[in-house]
């Protein structure tokens, strides 16, 4: 559905993204993962036709973004980061306006409006000015704006940033509910978000693609070392020494009574750790496995690559 071919984008002399290529199949939800400034927004803007790539090309449903920009734009619903909107307009007027500008015919506009309002749960705010809405509702209006012309492709730039946990949950549910119907590309810097909503992941760093994989594989290959967090009462030196005695344990760090223990891949040593601590007479207050944050994955990924280069 979407094919990104060797896209490079420069801002003056600064390289925003370099030689990026990947594809998104129809009905797929692709997570576009990377730290701030990695080039996520730039790539999405190239896909949406906001600006042309310096080099390379993007095809959406077979149309080239360089040669048929209007046709590409017709296929896409786009939600920018921190969605900008006309704050002086009422929700209903805003959606009507966007629908009409996007070319929804007069006869189907009413039906599209009703469907969008229902899907994005905007019924309670249709008569309110967009500028007066809460952050969560604004995000939903922005989604509504993207969906109003029933586009087969959705491009969402950090759709959950700045929302509270309940709103984040709702937006994710909404995105997931569209799986299969629409091809979706969503960018984020939150790793769990990808595993929760996406079927495929592209990781980007400093303008270059670091990895393209399915969500499952990503989890397997990146989480080399499981981390366990412990809260133990007792002298830290002794506790650390004790923990290190267990077979298969890597680094042990602590901040006060909180310990981070690294285990080798494919080995679940949680029960052994618990036993070791308790049997040696320390008080075990808490034990939980820690999922890796994106920062961890990145540090891991980048350092591993550098080591690989050296070897």
């Amino acid at each position: 559905m979407i094919k990104i071919e060797k896209v490079t984008k420069l801002y003056g002399q600064t390289v925003a993204v370099r030689d990026i290529s990947f594809e998104v199949a129809e009905g797929e939800i692709l997570g576009f993962l990377g730290p701030n400034g990695a080039g996520k927004t730039t790539t999405m803007r190239v896909i949406t036709g906001y600006f042309p790539p310096t080099d390379g090309n993007v095809f959406v449903a077979g149309h080239s973004v360089l040669d048929e920009p209007l046709e590409v734009k017709r296929q896409i619903g786009y939600v920018p980061e921190n969605p900008a909107m006309y704050h002086d307009m009422r929700t209903i007027d805003y959606l009507k306006f966007i629908g009409a500008v996007k070319g929804v015919t007069r006869t189907s506009l009413k039906e599209r409006l009703n469907k969008t309002i229902e899907l994005c749960a905007l019924k309670s705010v249709v008569n309110k000015r967009v500028g007066e809405l809460s952050r969560g509702f604004k995000q939903r209006v922005a989604l509504g704006q993207a969906l109003i012309n029933d586009p087969p492709v959705l491009i969402l730039d950090e759709p959950t940033s700045g929302l509270d946990p309940k709103q984040i949950f709702e937006i994710r549910q909404l995105i997931k509910s569209m799986a299969g119907e629409r091809t979706i590309v969503l960018s984020t810097h939150i790793l769990p978000e990808v595993s929760m909503t996406c079927s495929k992941v592209v990781i980007i760093n400093e303008g270059e693609i670091v990895a393209v994989d399915t969500t499952e594989n990503l989890g397997k290959s990146f989480v080399r070392t499981h981390q366990v967090e412990l809260v133990v009462k007792g002298p830290s030196k002794e506790i650390k020494n004790n923990l290190k005695k267990i077979d298969g344990i890597g680094k042990v760090d602590n901040v006060g009574e909180r310990y981070t223990v690294e285990m080798e891949k494919d080995k679940d040593l949680r029960s052994k750790i618990a036993k070791q601590v308790v049997q040696n007479g320390f008080e075990l207050l808490e034990l939980k496995s820690r999922s890796m944050s994106l920062e961890d994955v990145f540090i891991k990924l980048v350092t591993e690559e550098e080591e690989g280069d050296r070897a």
Binding site: F51, Y86, D88
Partner: protein, 258 residues
């Protein structure tokens, strides 16, 4: 066409949902009304005195006596009230980020610019329409007056207003800040105004003539006297066309640069 109409409707709604349109129109009509009133009173006093003399009585002219000075003054009012209409048109979309939406919608830049231009033009037309009671009133007193020269004056006013507006949109496209946009508009419009005064066009120097022809005010003087010269019409139409063309180029280059 529908795209242009939708952009147009939104801009019109914005102008009238905010105080902008009302403030501009009210200020404009009050100042216009004041100039018209002063001219008319002065003219009627003058003509009363001139009536004593048969030779001068024949030369009393409502156009030269009232409308020509009023229309000339009006150019200054337009210069003041049109930049407030044009300053936000694109600068605001850039500042709020809504330009990103418009650029990703299946519409062409020219539709966006034309929709906005037409909406602001409507405000200018409305301002001029609201001054129409003035000539009607004047003609009540002067039965022999002709409409032709007055309408020529109005055409000149309209073309000049649209030129100011088009330049204003171009400057709005160049800036993200509305205050910068309005101040630069004032500066550039005044510069176009004074262009003819730098070197006396009558001095025989070519550069003086060229600058004189480029100056906005020089092309208004025929209209306010009731004359329609193709040269003046072409000047204003080209002025509008060039400004809008450059606006589109500015938007396009903004895209390429990101």
């Amino acid at each position: 066409m529908r795209n242009i109409a939708e952009i147009y409707k939104r801009e019109i709604r914005f102008y009238f949902a905010t105080p902008i349109a009302y403030v501009v129109i009210i200020i404009f009509t009050i100042i216009f009304g004041f100039f018209f009133y002063r001219s008319l009173v002065y003219y009627s006093e003058l003509s009363y005195q001139l009536m004593q003399n048969a030779y001068y009585a024949q030369r009393i002219d409502l156009i030269m006596g009232v409308f020509s000075p009023v229309f000339s003054n009006n150019a200054i009012i337009f210069l003041m009230v049109i930049p407030p209409i044009s300053m936000r048109l694109i600068a605001e979309e850039k500042k709020s980020g809504t330009i990103e939406l418009l650029f990703t919608f299946p519409i062409k830049d020219i539709h966006i610019v034309l929709g906005k231009w037409l909406a602001a033009s409507t405000i200018i037309v409305l301002m001029l329409v609201l001054t129409l009671p003035a000539p009607f009133m004047a003609f009540k007193f002067a039965g022999a007056a002709e409409w032709g020269p007055v309408l020529a004056g109005y055409l000149g006013m309209l073309l000049m207003g649209l030129s100011f507006l088009s330049l204003g949109i171009l400057i709005s496209a160049l800036s993200e800040n509305q205050i910068v946009s309005i101040i630069v508009s004032y500066g550039v419009l005044l510069a176009f105004w004074f262009l003819g005064w730098i070197i006396d066009p009558g001095s025989g120097k070519t550069i003086g003539k060229v600058l004189g022809e480029l100056s906005i005010i020089g092309h208004l003087s025929n209209f306010v006297k009731g004359m329609i010269d193709t040269k003046d019409i072409i000047y204003f139409v080209l002025f509008i066309f060039m400004s809008l063309f450059l606006t589109l180029r500015v938007l396009e280059s903004k895209r390429w640069r990101g």
